[in-house]
């Protein structure tokens, strides 16, 4: 059965992706839920929540709130929490509950902006999609809301779009990605979501170009290109050394790389650089942008399809989060290189060692 998981547990959902994208910007984030979704997001999908106080709240919806659609009550609670807090914006993140009762997020945004007098971002996630979609929507809304002014280009400045712990499983990912670009000669690197602040978002139009490190950043990159003419480049300037160090053993082999598409593509490039005769396919459970796919790349639709693809693929090696290994029969013989993906296993690199 396509929708049945018998070995794996569900991956990070869209609402977690949305919170991850917005977490670093000092706004008040309200998850429009009864408490359970917030527990999942904070307690599992947002590792930064454990190390610093953050304004992430549950709307605390109860059955009658949902049945009667008491948006005004939610807005009043939001206003009370914002008053005197010094926070610069708020965000309302959707979950299955508003999806079922068809909450009008546009109206909610207007009401909340009127009451708080500050920008409000709404992301109508439903909990049924994966994190990258939620993150993509949140990035886009964030830039649409705050990156409104056209600044002169600052020629030494580059932006990084699509970085979050869900895709780069270390809390230091912002610094590591930025350092890689600094090495390339960029003097000012703004890693949106992991290091950059709200003023950097406002000044996003000053960037010479943007580097898109995951499919979640692509929609925002296209928006910035269309609005300000900022070009973008898709590439992954940093990958976990533990995965890279193991790649020489894969030269000349048939390998499947499973991760977010752009990181997986970077691993493929690294293997092909070692031996252009290697055969490397990329697959992902998450967004696969057709323009960055090669022949034999594929989207993984289900646990069943994953097992079948590996069984029939004739791969010598698989580079993926080792958590995925539990779905595969032990009789399947191939080399497994661990490439942690927080959105899959909830493991940070330090924990993966």
């Amino acid at each position: 059965m396509k929708s049945l998981l018998k070995h794996l547990s569900p991956f990070a959902p869209d609402q977690s992706g949305a919170v991850s994208a917005l977490f670093d910007f000092g706004g008040l984030i309200v998850i429009c839920d009864a408490g359970g979704c917030t527990g999942n997001i904070c307690g599992f999908d947002e590792p930064r929540w454990f190390i610093r106080r953050s304004a992430v709240f549950s709307a605390g919806l109860r059955d009658m709130d949902a049945i009667l659609g008491r948006d005004d009550k939610l807005v009043s609670k939001l206003q009370a929490a914002m008053d005197g807090s010094g926070l610069k914006f708020s965000a309302i993140i959707g979950t299955p509950v508003p999806a079922i009762i068809a909450t009008d997020f546009k109206a909610l945004k207007r009401m909340a902006e009127k009451r708080t007098g500050l920008p409000v971002i709404t992301v109508p996630t439903t909990g049924t999609h994966y994190y990258d979609r939620g993150a993509s929507d949140a990035w886009l809304e964030l830039f649409k809301t705050f990156a409104t002014e056209h600044f002169s280009i600052y020629y030494d400045m580059v932006g990084i779009l699509g970085a979050s712990p869900l895709d780069f499983p270390t809390l230091d990912a912002g610094n590591l990605l930025s350092a890689a670009l600094t090495k390339d000669g960029w003097k000012s690197v703004k890693c949106y979501g992991m290091g950059a602040d709200l003023d950097d978002i406002r000044a996003a139009s000053a960037a010479t170009k943007n580097i898109v490190v995951s499919p979640a950043g692509l929609a925002a990159a296209k928006y910035l290109e269309k609005t300000f003419g900022t070009p973008y480049e898709v590439r992954c300037p940093w990958l976990p050394p533990q995965a890279l160090d193991a790649l020489p053993a894969l030269a000349g082999k048939k390998t499947l790389v499973i991760h977010q598409q752009f990181a997986a593509n970077a691993v493929r490039d690294a293997i092909l650089k070692l031996d252009p005769a290697s055969q490397v396919d990329v697959a992902s459970w998450f967004i696969m942008e057709p323009e960055f796919m090669r022949e034999n790349d594929f989207h993984i639709e289900s646990e069943e399809a994953f097992i079948e693809a590996v069984a029939n693929g004739g791969y010598d090696a698989i580079v993926c989060d080792s958590r995925l290994r539990v779905a595969l029969p032990r009789t399947m013989a191939f080399k497994n290189i661990d490439f942690p993906h927080f959105a899959v296993s909830g493991r940070l690199l330090d924990e993966a060692k």
């Binding site: 929708s3 049945l4 408490g35």
Partner: protein, 434 residues
């Protein structure tokens, strides 16, 4: 909002139960989910939430029928391999949550799950969430259909976070679910069940000794049942001892279905109240318990602690194995001070607030769930010792105990163990994780 809201016990008692300030009522504000509150604010988040609790039935597996987001944190529960192998997921998509078409797939999914298990499960617990609460799903009917199709008992577990403050909150409902598979058996007068927790009482709980002294031979707890047959033997009990009010509904169901009456005991830390409770239990079951040696020991442990560490000032949290207000009252009555309590004031514990107000009017009461807790500053506190995992979060620099082990403390032994652990923490004998 730029400082943490608190109210003194005296002010709160003066306002009365009907006039609790909105800052202490979770329905009146956004809910601040800090690391201090996660475990009890989310019915599936940590510890024994609905998902893990539903697996209390020996040999059972769980099929979570929900959008992917609801099952996400189960990856963390799945760190224990044995538990991971008992979770399965039927994921709902956008169309499912609007049309409810996923319900038709459940019987087949249950069968596929059973067929994939090396050992046939004793039961399949179907965990459903807010989605089906709003769709108004008749899951009892779906479970009957799935049971007929797959040839295995199928039981619904309602993880309805939306109903957390309703008549039947998730953790109350799941307790009924896990006992719902018991079938009528001939009563055995010397058998007793302990209801309330999903993990056993500490082995040193005097309750075991007292019940044995009254002629009870079999004391059963669901978490100690090795297999499904032993679990079914719970149906022979002469009476149920309910140690957590969240099990009241389950006990009432067992009385109705199996004719097993129940007696409720509270987990207390005031030794005179514990004694009173045992006296009343004795009257109810026609026995006289000799609890004096246990009481003496517990009071001696408290005295030793006081002599050794002097007049301590406590911060007491609510993420712990106690009612924070009852525990605070106990500490105050034993000669200690309580400067602050992080707790949820409700109908059942307001009586303790009044008593605390009389003895320690300046004790501050905070709500963990108030958005203002984002601004809590522990430097303004006068406490020097903390109890409760949440209190430890607010005061990471102070010695204390989390006191939220899965093994459940109860009675005098619980009191003695608490002060024993506190003594260890204060003397630095044990390294306490912070």
């Amino acid at each position: 909002m730029n400082h943490a809201f608190s109210i003194t016990a005296a002010e709160l008692a003066a306002r009365g139960r009907e006039n609790i300030p909105p800052e202490l009522l979770s329905s009146a504000h956004l809910i601040y989910s800090s690391p201090a509150t996660l475990a009890f604010n989310s019915p599936g988040a940590q510890g024994f939430g609905v998902k893990r609790a539903g697996l209390a039935v020996p040999g059972s597996v769980m099929l979570l029928v929900a959008p992917a987001c609801c099952g996400r944190n189960t990856s963390a529960l799945g760190c224990e391999a044995a538990l991971a192998e008992r979770f399965f997921y039927l994921m709902q998509d956008d169309t499912d949550i609007v049309t409810g078409r996923h319900l038709a797939r459940i019987p087949e999914a249950v069968k596929e799950v059973c067929d994939s298990c090396a050992t046939r499960p004793s039961a399949v617990m179907i965990c459903i969430t807010c989605v089906d609460a709003l769709l108004g799903t008749d899951m009892e009917r779906v479970c009957r259909k799935a049971s007929d199709y797959a040839g295995v008992p199928v039981v619904p577990c309602y993880m309805y976070a939306l109903t957390r403050e309703g008549r039947l909150p998730p953790m109350v409902s799941v307790r009924r679910s896990v006992y719902s598979l018991l079938r009528p058996r001939e009563k055995v007068p010397t058998s007793v069940n302990i209801l309330g927790f999903f993990s056993p009482l500490r082995n040193d709980a005097e309750l075991y000794t007292l019940l044995h002294s009254a002629g009870v031979r079999a004391i059963r707890e669901i978490s100690r049942c090795a297999d499904y047959e032993e679990y079914q033997a719970m149906a022979e009990a002469n009476f149920n001892l309910v140690l957590n009010q969240e099990a009241r509904h389950a006990a009432a169901d067992l009385q109705k279905r199996l004719g097993i009456p129940s007696v409720e005991l509270a987990r207390l830390y005031q030794t005179d109240k514990i004694a009173n409770q045992y006296r009343l239990l004795g009257q109810a079951v026609g026995a006289e318990f000799d609890d004096a040696p246990f009481r003496e020991r517990a009071e001696q442990v408290i005295a030793n602690f006081r002599n050794r560490f002097g007049h301590r000032t406590f911060a007491v949290g609510e993420w712990l194995n106690a009612d924070p207000f009852e525990l605070s009252l106990s500490l105050i009555r034993n000669g200690f001070a309580v400067s602050e309590i992080f707790g949820t004031v409700g109908g059942s514990n307001f009586v303790y607030v009044r008593k605390i107000a009389a003895l320690s009017p300046d004790t501050k009461i905070y709500s963990n769930l108030s958005p203002s807790m984002m601004f809590y500053d522990g430097k303004e506190s006068h406490c020097d010792t903390v109890v409760g995992r949440d209190a430890m979060y607010y005061h990471p620099e102070l010695p204390g105990v989390a006191w939220n082990d899965e093994r459940q403390p109860f009675g005098y032994a619980g009191v003695a163990a608490l002060f024993g652990e506190l003594a260890n923490a204060l003397s630095g004998k044990e390294e306490h994780a912070r």
